[in-house]
Symmetry: C2
């Protein structure tokens, strides 16, 4: 499985993904699940993926091919599309088509349908920051004031902390802390989500990736935070009267 | 959905279930999901249920019928079975048979199979405390030193807190606090789990229910604990350095 989470805060976007891919317990590999499409200053788009690797890789490859195609226009290239909504729409169409094709190919052998979902976040110069969750069918929902975070993959373990601390007014620093703690809970409770992690921060109106960080297994800062959080939870637990 | 959790601690068993049942969002009802079979001092058995209400109700009705049947013997009545293992086996067989029958009945109308799972916990005089998770197929797993808690239903939201604080040495008081906080996280993050709650404590070797409590919506103690936990989480969050 996978865990990816995105926050749309007033101050900017915070995105975090793990990198574990598995086809059964004995076939575990590390694949990046966060992808950047950028024309710095003009637009920045980040895509995070969950689900069947063949679907997500093919979809990404097609999006990249369309971006590099000299004949590309605003209906095919996400670097030319005039709005983030149309970016989400191009990605949704590509995901849906790829998923259908691959399901069709594997229909003879497997009842299980190949499936995948994505989080798409970004901003175009002059437009608003936007963040979408794209479903396997290609349709999508958008993060709003009321729901400033979106998750894909193994989202349940890490939801309680986000429900409690994230509002649109949360700072970018607190946002990073929250997604890392949300990931920490998920890593502890579910083996199919694994290090290293990819984190990206996009400040409002920067239209470029402001900070990007890969957090490796044994990362000191992350370990310290994870231990401090465990200790804090245990202390809070002890202090609460029943 | 449902959330039920059971702890098998050195000091005894702690069990908690919600009561929400739904068939779609507009058909929500309250049904007890915790059932007691007791011959105080000789044996105590608690069953918690998750899944299709028609399957769990019919299974429970059959177990009760077998207990009351004058012809019942140790292979049919869970109050006569010589060990907790055989209690689990009788319940597993009954669940599996009921599930198959109901799936068969509904096959014409629905692709979705009726399904249900159960947690069975208890002790017989002279035997050990034991706790089992019974799968829809009738097979089961048991709580052990390494895994002193079992969950059914919407288990993911409430797992991180249990992973962090529960060991076999946890006291009964701390166990109750932990399952209530685990339930609190689930209630906050998932609408299909709802109050009131049923909690039971069975002290080791008592072979009877030591304490039983129904926690209603607006219960002062539970609300206070829930608020204190939220405040403690938020404070811990603020204090942790990234």
């Amino acid at each position: 499985m996978t865990y990816c989470v995105g926050l749309k805060l007033n101050a900017g976007l915070v995105l975090l993904s793990d990198t574990r891919t598995n086809a059964g317990l004995d076939n575990i590999a590390c694949y990046r699940k966060m992808f950047f499409f950028e024309n710095p200053g003009e637009r920045v788009i980040v895509i995070m993926t969950a689900g069947s690797l063949s679907v997500t890789q093919t979809t990404l490859a097609r999006l990249e091919e369309a971006v590099e195609d000299e004949m590309a226009d605003e209906t095919t290239s996400i670097l030319l599309a005039p709005t983030m909504l149309q970016v989400a729409s191009i990605i949704g169409d590509s995901l849906s088509r790829t998923r259908r094709e691959i399901s069709e190919m594997s229909r003879d052998l497997s009842q299980r349908q190949a499936s995948a979902s994505m989080i798409v976040a970004g901003q175009r110069e002059g437009g608003d920051m936007r963040m979408f969750l794209i479903y396997p069918e290609g349709n999508f929902i958008e993060a709003t004031e009321d729901t400033p975070f979106l998750q894909i993959g193994e989202h349940k373990y890490g939801k309680p902390i986000l429900d409690r601390v994230i509002t649109p007014a949360t700072s970018l620093a607190d946002g990073q802390k929250a997604v890392l703690l949300s990931m920490d809970s998920t890593l502890r409770s579910n083996l199919s989500v694994g290090m290293p992690l990819d984190m990206a921060v996009i400040e409002k109106n920067a239209c470029t990736v402001s900070a990007r960080r890969r957090i490796l297994e044994g990362d000191e800062e992350f370990s310290r935070m994870s231990h401090a959080w465990s200790a804090a939870l245990r202390n809070s637990f002890v202090e609460i009267a029943i």
